[in-house]
Symmetry: C2
Subunit: 281 residues, 2 copies
């Protein structure tokens, strides 16, 4: 009897880095990849049960946290059930036969441009146009067949849309990785889970972050990442998105989470899942 | 005898928010505002002494830290000598006589789009094109006179370029402020300085951030902002950009900065200056 393919959402079009991360994370399982225009569409589809999982970029090792995704994770009722780290190698792609010297318009995602800032400093004639996704930019360039147009996207997008690689590995930092999270409507807890993601809001008073970190340190819980994000509508107040090590059944973790310092106004456990310990697959 | 006007750099074109912040901060002084294309151009002009000061956005109260500016502040030899907070009210601007219904192409800075995400969700027909600066986008729209084009920029840009306001205050969050820093090649220390900005790098080991915060807390030094940024070339390692309260001549501040915890690998004092205590001028 055939098993039903698992529906998994991602943002962008086939050939996008998110699509690659999805295929690598679910390798060996039968999945039905569904693409969406916006990050929020993916989160919404997961929250409403239209897809079983969603794959979203959360952090790049050169440019930092993808703040829109942090903010969506806080606003929607979703959980993180896994992560996948992917090596990013941006290329300048154009219609076959195009010369690098003729390119004056480049399309990509803002993060793509940001990660290739040195390349664009050396090519000031290339105007940068913000586009939904690196792969969608490649699709646009393939459609237009314009000798002045190019896209910043991955090698896989060149294959997908029949484009030529005018310049390979144009990212400023050659050691460039993106970490993706796998989200679900249901919390999943496997015995090998070793990373916990939390959202913590603190009262706007001196020393509140220090007291929170002291609380975890006393239980020998290590924090591997902290990202401060603004509270919309409360200028200069912040909430924190934190990754700590451990399993929710560890007595130390339970103790720490049950008795948080008094100035913690909100603590939401976004997930407990196995960390991707390799820099890439 | 006439005093010579102080040359001050900003990014963008006349009518940009940075230009407004510059004029407000230096109110009452004779300044010669010089505009540059990139944030990095401003920082470079300051570092090389081509302008006396530079004005750069560092943080928005809705979308968070402006990460490129944080990274530039770390890479160049510059100091922060002041700050200015400005209320941001984005508008959709078009050539006079244009109808909102006909707009299909909108130009702005990525932060401008990000701050108006709800408006663009409600107007999915409007394609977003990344542009250097909100005011430069307004300038482009004024030049093109295209009935399908609009820009997201401030009221002052409408005045500057003779555009019509099709929609006012389209930012998702109505309580929207941007904090600008004033940079200089020389450190300046006035008696009323009450905010210190530091860049701190920590060894990649458990509890290092906790130990740093504990160190400041023991001296009753309050931290008002913390931003983690990736270390280029060292995946998943971070440095921290921190604002603390105090004056460099305070004994507690001196004590704290002279003996930092052992796992602090770098500590650079970016500046000590008077905080802008009003949300806006």
């Amino acid at each position: 009897m055939a098993t039903k393919a698992i529906p998994v959402g991602y943002q962008g079009v086939p050939g996008a880095y998110s699509h690659m991360a999805l295929l690598q994370y679910f390798q060996g399982q039968e999945v039905q990849a569904e693409n969406f225009v916006l990050f929020e569409d993916v989160v919404q589809a997961v929250a409403e049960g239209k897809v079983r999982y969603g794959v979203l970029p959360i952090e790049n090792s050169s440019t930092g946290g993808i703040t829109d995704v942090y903010d969506l994770a806080r606003r929607y009722s979703i959980f993180i059930v896994g992560e996948k780290i992917l090596k990013i190698e941006h290329c300048l792609l154009a219609y076959p036969g195009t010369c690098l010297e003729n390119i004056t318009e480049v399309y990509s995602h803002p993060q793509g441009f940001s990660q290739c800032s040195l390349f664009f400093k050396e090519h000031p004639v290339m105007r940068q146009f913000n586009y939904f996704n690196t792969a969608k930019a490649a699709e646009l360039v393939a459609e237009k067949k314009d000798p002045h147009m190019a896209a910043v996207a991955g090698v896989q997008a060149a294959d997908q849309y029949g484009l030529e690689i005018l310049a390979r590995g144009i990212n400023t930092n050659k050691s460039n990785y993106t970490r993706f999270i796998i989200i679900s409507r249901e919390q999943e807890l496997v015995p090998e889970a070793d990373k916990i993601t939390l959202i913590v809001s603190l009262k706007h008073q001196p020393g509140s972050l220090y007291r929170l970190l002291a609380h975890f340190a006393q239980q020998n819980i290590n924090m591997t990442n902290i990202e401060s994000r603004p509270y919309p509508g409360r200028p200069w107040e912040y909430y924190f998105h934190m990754d700590i090590t451990g399993h929710l059944t560890d007595p130390a973790v339970q103790e720490a989470l049950q008795q948080l310092p008094e100035d913690t106004t909100e603590c939401k456990i976004l997930g407990n899942y196995p960390a991707d310990h390799g820099k890439e697959a």
